[in-house]
């Protein structure tokens, strides 16, 4: 049995650390586009059965409702080193999939909330979610070609009542460099919210 355990230790040693960043915002704001622009693999997705995933064991009774709705959770991967992997999870857009957000957010570095200036209200719920849970986030203004007017970040801040400390970054989710930049802004923002380095020992 000793050898079995040592094999398990060896296998565990092969597993990298993993970290998560969420890409949130309303339906159609460009979440999957952003994930795709920086992911090393084409975005993957999972399909979730709402009735089974939401309420657990006893919910088989719910099949009378014939709920065959599925949600695709899109995500990408950035292998930073053999020991560290970053996952980017695009949050499901529709309200009834909120139950998935808590697992996505657990232990996450933070979130990028993408905003389409033609439909500001579509991203309001995401801003609210991260503010309430004190999860670090930055706002990305995804500029769509069809948008009539380019809003200044401060106009967006005022329209969505975003706190002064939250970075608001214009971006083009299709561009790898723009997506990279907003990831950097988020990680820097998350670091700025940590307790001062001197306090680390007691943390």
């Amino acid at each position: 049995m000793v050898s079995v355990h040592s094999e398990q230790h060896q296998a565990a040693a092969l597993a990298p650390e993993s970290v998560k960043i969420m890409v949130a915002g309303g339906f159609g704001v460009g979440k999957t586009t952003m994930v795709a622009s920086v992911s090393e693999i084409p975005p993957l997705s999972t399909e979730e059965l709402l009735t089974t995933a939401s309420d657990g064991v006893d919910d088989l009774a719910g099949i009378e409702g014939k709920t065959t709705t599925t949600v695709a959770l899109d995500f990408g991967r950035i292998t930073i080193s053999p020991k560290l992997v970053l996952y980017l999870f695009g949050t499901p857009g529709q309200d009834r999939f909120w139950f998935m957000w808590d697992e996505l957010a657990r232990g996450a570095i933070g979130a990028i909330v993408l905003i389409d200036t033609r439909r500001l209200d579509a991203s309001f719920a995401a801003v609210d979610f991260f503010e309430r849970r004190e999860i670090p986030f930055v706002v990305g203004i995804n500029h769509f070609d069809g948008a009539p007017h380019r809003y200044e970040p401060e106009e967006i801040r005022s329209a969505l009542a975003i706190s002064p400390g939250i970075p608001i970054v214009p971006c083009d989710a299709r561009q790898r460099d723009a997506s990279k930049l907003i990831l950097i802004r988020l990680i820097e923002h998350a670091m700025s919210r940590l307790p001062a380095a001197g306090a680390k020992a007691t943390a």
């Binding site: 050898s3 079995v4 094999e7 398990q8 296998a11 565990a12 092969l14 597993a15 990298p16 650390e17 993993s18 970290v19 998560k20 920086v38 993957l44 997705s45 999972t46 399909e47 979730e48 059965l49 089974t52 995933a53 657990g56 064991v57 919910d59 088989l60 099949i63 009378e64 014939k66 065959t68 599925t70 959770l73 995500f75 991967r77 950035i78 930073i80 080193s81 560290l84 992997v85 970053l86 996952y87 999870f89 697992e103 657990r106 232990g107 996450a108 570095i109 933070g110 999860i135 670090p136 790898r176 990279k180 990831l183 950097i184 990680i187 998350a190 670091m191 940590l194 380095a197 680390k200």
Partner: protein, 123 residues
């Protein structure tokens, strides 16, 4: 409600029936703390595959290099709630080991964030 309205056949029943058949009707994983980003690796001397379904075997084949719970759900093409049950079966058998995300509950610390920052800058 008329009785015939509650009966499903063929494709109508498919999306719900198949995941439950795979997990023997269970919806709760033995290890409910499995996160979407938890890393799963196959133990090289994984025991005889007797009694394992094709989805279990697919996980063992895929995890010769570490993959996350979410990646496995996507590659095996089952919902997250199902893949977690299958993974916990394999954990019970000692066929896979898992590594939870860096900080399962709290936000990541400064050293880890710095490593991620350096990595993203270098992309």
């Amino acid at each position: 409600m008329a009785e015939d309205e509650t009966q499903w056949f063929d494709e109508a029943a498919g999306p719900l029936v198949r995941p439950y058949a795979m997990t023997g009707g269970r919806t709760r994983p033995g290890a409910s703390w499995l996160d979407i980003a938890t890393q799963v690796v196959t133990v090289p001397s994984a025991s005889e595959r007797l009694g394992l379904g094709p989805e279990h075997q697919a996980i063992l084949d895929l995890c010769h290099r570490a993959l996350s719970v979410a990646e496995l759900a996507s590659y095996v093409n089952v919902p997250l709630v199902v893949i977690k049950v299958l993974i916990s079966d394999l954990m019970d058998r000692g066929d896979v080991v898992v590594r939870p995300p860096a900080q399962a509950l709290q936000a990541p610390g400064r050293d880890l964030l710095q490593a991620v920052l350096d990595g993203v800058r270098a992309l």
